[in-house]
């Protein structure tokens, strides 16, 4: 365990050195004293009073975020995705589905807590139903019998709860490994994660290695079910698109 910790902390140090190096190089460089005008200079093309979708999204830490974005690509490509693909090769499909159902069922607890916090009777009632159904008849959540019984699934987290009570997005953030987020959702994620950890420790009292296995399997299952690949959208404006679509999706999620 000590060894793991040491490796993790040296990885963290390395990570922040990379950040520090990268953060200072975000301004475009001009060669020569006078700017050579392009065929379509922005001053001539963009109307002065135009407003844009991105105006609604604060991103004061863009340089830093882009650095994390690149780190995530490398982490994905050289570690995360190879592990995911090994997992998919080794485990038969039905077992993967079982793992996926299991963690989805655990996540119902997060949804349940946040449905209560959002004072939604319907979501609370349905989510409780799903959790009870799947934990019992679905053998600890390995089978998703609640969906077969047509009980609607909800996904609520503390970021959405904060949004429900009127908390704004805050600045856009790209979180290491986890990807696009914002201050509100980042705080929400921390709260949900800590809450789940407390509940897990209280109910199961896992050993450290068991807890790590739990967390890593959860992470691999989550990544296996997200199709997104960094830098594969075919757009030089991918970062801007991800920022816009993430923000839009969360806006819709909070209303639901």
């Amino acid at each position: 365990m000590m060894k793991v910790k040491r490796e993790l902390s040296s990885a963290a140090v390395l990570f922040f050195i990379c950040l520090a190096l990268a953060a200072c190089s975000s301004a475009p460089v001009q060669k020569g004293d006078t700017l050579i005008e392009p065929k379509f200079p922005s001053e001539k093309i963009l109307p002065e009073d135009a407003t844009y979708l991105s105006d609604q999204i604060a991103d004061p830490m863009e340089g830093f975020n882009r650095t994390i974005y690149r780190f995530n690509y490398r982490f994905d490509r050289y570690l995360f995705l190879p592990v995911v693909s090994a997992y998919q090769t080794i485990l038969p499909d039905f077992a993967q589905q079982g793992v996926h159902n299991f963690f989805n069922n655990i996540r119902e607890i997060t949804t349940l807590i946040n449905s209560i916090l959002q004072l939604s009777f319907k979501k609370t009632y349905q989510t409780t139903g799903r959790f009870v159904f799947n934990t019992t008849f679905g053998v600890l959540g390995l089978f998703d019998v609640a969906t077969v019984a047509e009980i609607p699934r909800h996904q609520e987290d503390f970021g959405q709860t904060l949004g429900y009570w009127g908390v704004g997005n805050g600045p856009f953030l790209v979180l290491p490994i986890l990807g696009p987020s914002n201050l509100r959702d980042g705080v929400g994620l921390a709260v949900d994660t800590l809450t789940m950890r407390e509940i897990r420790n209280w109910v199961l009292d896992l050993e450290t290695w068991q807890e790590w296995t739990w967390l890593l399997t959860d992470a691999v299952d989550t990544r296996a079910n997200v199709a997104f690949r960094y830098y594969e959208t075919g757009s030089p404006f991918e970062y801007e698109w991800v920022r816009l679509l993430y923000t839009t999706k969360r806006r819709i999620d909070i209303k639901k």
Binding site: P28, Q30, P38, L46, R66
Partner: protein
């Protein structure tokens, strides 16, 4: 008597013609809906959910200089799925801005793999990754240049695969711009003969690139209030999708939900045209800006400004989405190629970027087939007639489907597969 018989024959012919349209049960008569929605699941061909696809990267130009912001696209990404036994190999070329692992390429790959072919799937020469890693000029959209780039890529990939598999025949196909590319690659192959394609299939190709891209550019005029109001159009769309999402039981934006949303919102033709126009505008912005970064032409970015990995691109993003394919053609593409050939005129260049340029070849090349839709949105009125006129029986024209909307329909998939099966002819 002869008149009666001929009248009877005409009637019979009409009846069979009728019958064949009647039995084609693709559900949307509106070509805008068809283009946006595609084929609902109950009309689709049954395809395997998973095939053993490998995603790979390959270096095409060893000494290529790539600007810092495009560092991630040095190598070309592509995919293949191989059979264990000797089999034909199909190259699949994606349409405008399309990726090798996009939805249409993936479905075609499944269909061809299922009937026992090796498949190699390629991104469009207009895709960012292709422009950066595999385009010789990095100025895409040139019929002959793109074909040469594609051919080089195919040869390199084949170099790596030929030790692994045995190939009995080479086939070639592509949809939309990829269908157009297919014709010019097939023509190039006559000279180069690396593959000696035994058959090629063009799916919903444009006839004349310039007229198709002008049509697509004009579709954006359907945004209420014009392009200046794009953000309002987007906000309203999101608002409406959000409203449907709130009421539905779905927790993800899956295909089924999008059908639901579509039915609930029930957009009119103008809104659909605006959507289609937006989708192509995104492709043209990606293509033009990537190309500009590669050649430093000074189309959108000042040529003496160099972007860093973390530089914000907000301003260029906004400008790029205000310019269409036709701006790219007149202000960048044409001057770029005129520099290499001072006698070149706009009219000449437009004429050259057209299937009519190789009409004689297409008429005689029995190996090339085409499938198209009578109501395809990327064709000007009357342009569709070119295909039956030139290809004769090698043209299969469906009565509906819009632009590529019916590609997943079971009849269309069956036809695609049949074209490549020896028993099909």
């Amino acid at each position: 008597m002869i008149r009666y018989i001929s009248a009877l024959l005409v009637l019979l012919w009409m009846a069979t013609g009728w019958a064949s349209t009647e039995s084609y049960d693709y559900p949307f008569d509106n070509n805008f809906i068809a283009t946006v929605v595609g084929t609902p699941s109950e009309y689709r061909a049954e395809l395997p959910a998973k095939i053993p696809v490998k995603n790979r990267r390959i270096t095409i130009f060893k000494d290529r200089k790539v600007p810092e912001v495009l560092w991630h696209d040095r190598q070309l990404r592509y995919s293949y799925a191989l059979q264990k036994n000797p089999a034909p190999l199909v190259f699949i070329i994606a349409g405008t801005g399309g990726s090798h692992d996009g939805g249409k390429n993936t479905n075609m790959a499944r269909a061809f793999y299922q009937v026992g072919f090796h498949i190699v799937s390629l991104s469009s020469p207009t895709h960012m990754n292709f422009i950066v890693a595999a385009s010789n000029s990095s100025v895409p959209g040139h019929a002959i240049g793109d074909a040469a780039d594609l051919y080089r890529v195919m040869e390199r990939i084949w170099d790596q695969l030929k030790t692994k598999i045995e190939v009995t025949d080479f086939f070639l196909t592509g949809y939309s711009l990829g269908g157009f590319n297919t014709a010019f690659v097939a023509l190039l192959d006559e000279k180069r003969q690396t593959f000696n394609f035994t058959r090629a299939l063009m799916i919903n190709p444009p006839l004349q690139l310039y007229s198709s891209v002008s049509l697509l550019d004009r579709m954006l005029e359907n945004i209420p209030g014009g392009v200046d109001n794009f953000h309002r159009f987007y906000d309203r769309l999101v608002e409406e999708i959000g409203r449907v999402y709130k009421r539905s039981d779905s927790v993800s934006f899956d295909e089924e939900f999008l059908y639901q949303a579509f039915a609930a919102i029930n957009p009119d033709n103008e809104e659909l045209a605006a959507l289609i126009g937006t989708s192509f505008r995104i492709s043209s912005a990606n293509m033009a800006f990537t190309s500009d970064l590669m050649t430093n032409f000074g189309f959108i970015k000042p040529p003496n400004i160099y972007l860093k990995k973390n530089s914000s691109m907000a301003v260029y993003n906004r400008v790029a989405h205000r310019l269409g394919f036709t701006d790219f053609f007149h202000i960048y593409f044409f001057p770029y190629y005129k520099k290499q050939d001072p006698g070149l005129t706009r009219e000449l260049l437009i004429e050259r970027m057209s299937l009519t340029q190789i009409e004689d070849y297409l008429r005689t090349a029995k190996k090339i087939e085409v499938m198209h839709n009578q109501d395809d949105l990327i064709l000007e009125p009357g342009e569709i007639d070119f295909f039956p006129r030139v290809f004769g029986v090698r043209a299969k024209i469906y009565p509906k489907g819009g632009h590529c909307g019916n590609m997943d329909h079971r009849d269309n998939v069956a036809h695609m597969v049949n074209v490549f099966k020896p028993s099909g002819h």
